[in-house]
């Protein structure tokens, strides 16, 4: 009359084990779920009942009490359906409880008894250790990301019962259909001309520098941003698992291999709400936001000035610490959020163009720039003017350099940075710069002149030095940093300031 079945629930990107306890006793026929279920969880009653009946099982007309332990933690989603169904079968002796001892179940049930996948299978499966986990067939690869569980699948409840009773073998899922059939990522080869923007993308990828593209419509800002992830090295072990967990928890479709190895690219629209951006949301789920979905990849904010100021402000913590802490009354989660920020904006409401071409009034231009200014503008190491490509370049023969060939340089430069200081150049602290990235006398003189002329602020000074270091790494130059790299770095943060004052 009692059974306990193992499953898991999701908070943020972390699964935690849940025991689904089913008790069937005397009393008026009824069904109660306790243990802080959310709405989807509570509705499991009707799905499970229909699924059992359509699978040829019996529904006990007794008092059914279900407890989701630990009962003080909120449970969300339909992932507990299957465990609940199996628990009822075991409690009514339609299945032997001993068969269940080393199994866990993570799937939603259809009314016809079929198993369906739920978001967050990867973290859910990793929460239940030392047992075999049954998931819906589509979740199979995702579940295998969480080593070292054994992952089993069944198409529907009927088949599952048969397998558990050892009346038929578990369906094997083969791995051999995994191949590189995914759409290849956008390649830098398609970008014609625009040598500055290409270089900026390369520098951003190599040094982890946030970049702001400034230019009128049709300049190819979005096109460039989309290609930056392709310049980053493929995700390695720890990052790949983190990214997979986040994407799984958010219910994004994962690559067929299961593990996400390509740096993600996220481009939320500027109407994005605070919660969409940083994560959270009502209920117990704490869905990861765009900053986490862009973890280890690129977060692209088109029309960055149009985002709500509070949303932009909220990016500061993740930009500094590489993670985001979301606190709610009954849960606090920390999600990874280390991303490369790529912004795009028009120089003014009319789209600008060369000097003397802008037709905006002073006030409207000042208003436009004011929205951009402040803390977020400070985070961009690179500010690049992107003008529409010259038709000659667009029509000219020959593609640009391919992403793969740029990536080789990026990987080499990144390795230099990591060997030197254990992190990418953009993350170097101001205090470290003198020891890690000394300047030549000539470079120092250049920077001094810019500072004295008021074209560079203290903060900008450090940013320029970091970018210069990356440029020097890309050129394969040895320390100290030469004048040409410092001057180039200065040129790479001009595009926006009205009178050439680089912040």
């Amino acid at each position: 009359m009692f059974s306990s079945v193992r499953s898991a629930t999701l908070t943020g990107i972390h699964g935690s084990p849940v025991a689904v306890e089913v008790h069937i006793g005397m009393g008026l026929p009824g069904f109660t779920i306790v243990g802080l279920p959310d709405e989807a969880c509570r509705e499991a009653r009707d799905r499970v009942r229909a699924a059992l009946l359509s699978s040829g099982c019996e529904w006990p007309n007794r008092k059914i009490t279900v407890n989701l332990a630990p009962s003080s933690q909120r449970k969300a989603g339909a992932g507990l359906d299957l465990a609940l169904a199996v628990g009822i079968l075991a409690a009514t002796d339609q299945m032997k409880a001993t068969d269940l001892a080393d199994f866990a179940f993570v799937a939603e049930l259809g009314l016809d008894g079929s198993l369906r996948s739920v978001p967050g299978v990867a973290p859910l499966v990793s929460a239940v250790t030392d047992c075999r986990v049954v998931v819906a067939p589509p979740s199979h690869r995702e579940a295998r990301v969480a080593e070292p569980c054994e992952v089993l699948t069944a198409r529907n409840l009927e088949q599952l019962v048969a397998c558990l009773h050892r009346e038929r073998p578990w369906e094997s899922v083969t791995d051999d259909d995994v191949d590189e059939d995914e759409i290849p990522p956008a390649d830098m080869r398609d970008v014609r001309g625009q040598p500055m923007a290409r270089l900026a993308a390369e520098v951003a990828a190599a040094g982890g520098h946030n970049v702001l593209f400034v230019g009128g419509p049709g300049g190819g800002k979005t096109m460039l941003a989309e290609r930056i992830p392709g310049l980053l090295p493929p995700l390695d072990g720890r990052d790949a698992v983190d990214v997979t967990m986040v994407h799984s928890a958010a219910g994004l479709s994962l690559p067929r291999r299961g593990l996400v190895t390509r740096p993600p690219f996220r481009a939320p629209h500027h109407s994005a709400s605070m919660i969409a951006m940083v994560g959270g949301g009502s209920g117990a789920t704490m869905r990861p936001g765009e900053v986490s979905l862009a973890h280890a990849g690129v977060l692209f904010l088109d029309e960055v000035g149009e985002f709500m100021p509070s949303v932009l402000d909220a990016l500061r913590q993740p930009l500094e610490s590489g993670e985001i802490r979301i606190a709610r009354a009954n849960a606090t989660v920390t999600l990874p959020a280390r991303f490369l920020l790529v912004g795009a904006t028009n120089p003014c409401p009319c789209g600008g163009g060369g000097p003397g071409a802008c037709v905006c009034s002073d006030t409207s231009r000042a208003k436009y720039l004011r929205r951009l200014s402040g803390p977020i503008l400070d985070r961009f190491d690179l500010r690049i003017a992107v003008a529409a490509t010259d038709p000659d370049d667009l029509l000219g023969v020959g593609d640009g350099e391919s992403s793969a060939s740029i990536r080789e340089r990026v990987v080499r430069a990144r390795r230099l940075g990591v060997e030197r200081a254990g992190k990418v150049n953009a993350l170097l602290a101001a205090g470290e710069l003198d020891t890690v990235a000394p300047l030549t006398e000539a470079s120092r003189a250049v920077l001094r002149k810019e500072l004295e002329a008021g074209r560079l602020t203290g903060r900008g000074y450090h940013r320029v030095r970091r970018v210069a270091l990356t440029l020097s790494d890309l050129a394969g130059a040895c320390e100290p940093i030469g004048e040409e790299h410092v001057r180039s770095a200065l040129l790479m943060r001009t595009a926006l300031a009205p009178n050439g004052a680089a912040q």
Partner: protein, 364 residues
């Protein structure tokens, strides 16, 4: 009658609602100001007293068509019965060139306007302008540079600014220092009493005064529409010669000046041309002052050349020269320090003075 001066009544008359400027001017020529004011329906002396006080407070003088030192060009062109003045009207005795242009110029437009201002100051020619952002301000700023370089040069040309607001309302605010300097060194003129805000409809009227006060008008950079073109139209109506500085056909803010040239107005590329248009002695040696900039290094010439046909982006520079950013960066840094190029929002432009003066190593 209280002891208020006549000019206060004149000011009250001219700023009275429902009294056109033309009518006010006619009345002032016929009658005493206080009588004219009463005829126009004025009966509240406190109104006059207030105007009087705000003028005195702000150091603003009032001249009307009745006054002997009312600027004669305005007297004849009509429609301007009164001027609020700060500074010395004697500046109007100098030769006067109006320098006007867009509020959103290119760096080279600014450079040209400054250069004209500086050169004309050196040659004792006054510059009439509107103290607006961009070309207007740059022309007077160039004069100021000359005055600061040679303080105490009594013969230097002085600034004449005609503004569209009360003389105590600085517009645009960014020009405050320049505004004050003009008031001290030259003369600030306005049709509007102290406290009057800068309103859009004031400016076309202001432009008519600029056109009237100038012997010739030089348009440095202008779009095909805008305030400068209004000034040009007014100047042509008054028989004032208009000259324009040619610009690149690819720069929107030179569209108006190029159009003027196509339509046959005089071309000015150098302060010498302006002096010639004024029939002034223009062969004095110090005009052909030696360019004190260092010669660009031979390795930087390709970059300078690429910048010399209007503003270019770094992209265009990289494509045109085929050089790496790092090497262009060094060249640009050097050229910038030497004063050969200017940068604005990522656009670079060469600063070449006048025609052919540096032809040897600038333009190929």
């Amino acid at each position: 009658m209280s002891g208020l001066p006549m000019w206060a009544y004149a000011a009250a008359l001219c700023t009275r609602r429902g009294v056109s400027r033309r009518k006010a001017g006619g009345d002032l020529l016929r009658l005493d100001a206080d009588v004219a004011w009463e005829e126009a329906g004025g009966n509240d002396e406190t109104e006059v007293a207030q105007l009087y006080e705000s003028c005195v407070e702000n150091g603003v003088r009032v001249v009307t068509v009745q006054d002997p030192d009312f600027p004669s060009p305005l007297f004849f062109s009509g429609g301007v019965p009164i001027l609020f003045v700060r500074g010395s009207l004697s500046v109007l005795g100098q030769r006067r060139v109006g320098i006007i242009g867009t509020r959103t110029p290119t760096p080279s437009g600014v450079y040209t306007a400054r250069d004209f201002g500086e050169q004309l100051a050196a040659h004792g020619v006054a510059v009439v302008s509107g103290l607006a952002k961009g070309i207007d301000g740059a022309a007077h700023d160039g004069m100021r540079a000359r005055h600061e370089m040679h303080p105490g040069d009594g013969a230097a040309g002085r600034p004449i600014a005609v503004v569209g607001s009360g003389l105590d309302i600085v517009y645009p605010k960014a020009n405050r220092k320049l505004w004050e300097w003009v008031g001290e060194c030259g003369v600030l003129l306005s049709e509007y009493p102290p406290g009057a805000p800068a309103e859009a409809h004031h400016f076309p009227q202001r432009n008519r005064i600029i056109a009237s006060l100038s012997e010739i008008i030089v348009v440095v950079e202008s779009r095909t529409t805008g305030g400068s073109m209004i000034t040009v139209r007014e100047a042509i109506r008054r028989g004032v010669d208009v000259h324009a500085v040619p610009g690149s056909p690819r720069v929107a803010s030179a569209g108006g000046t190029n159009l003027l040239i196509q339509q046959g107005c005089g071309t000015v590329t150098d302060a010498t041309d302006i002096l010639a248009a004024l029939s002034l002695e223009h062969s004095r040696t110090d005009l052909r002052r030696v360019d004190d900039r260092e010669h660009p290094e031979s390795g930087d010439l390709d970059v300078l050349e690429a910048c010399s046909n209007g503003p270019v982006t770094l992209d265009q520079l990289m494509i045109a020269t085929g050089r790496e950013l790092s090497s262009i960066a060094v060249s640009l840094g050097r050229l910038h320090a030497q004063g050969w190029v200017m940068e604005e929002r990522g656009w670079w432009e060469a600063l070449l003075l006048g025609r052919g003066r540096h032809a040897g190593y600038c333009i190929t």
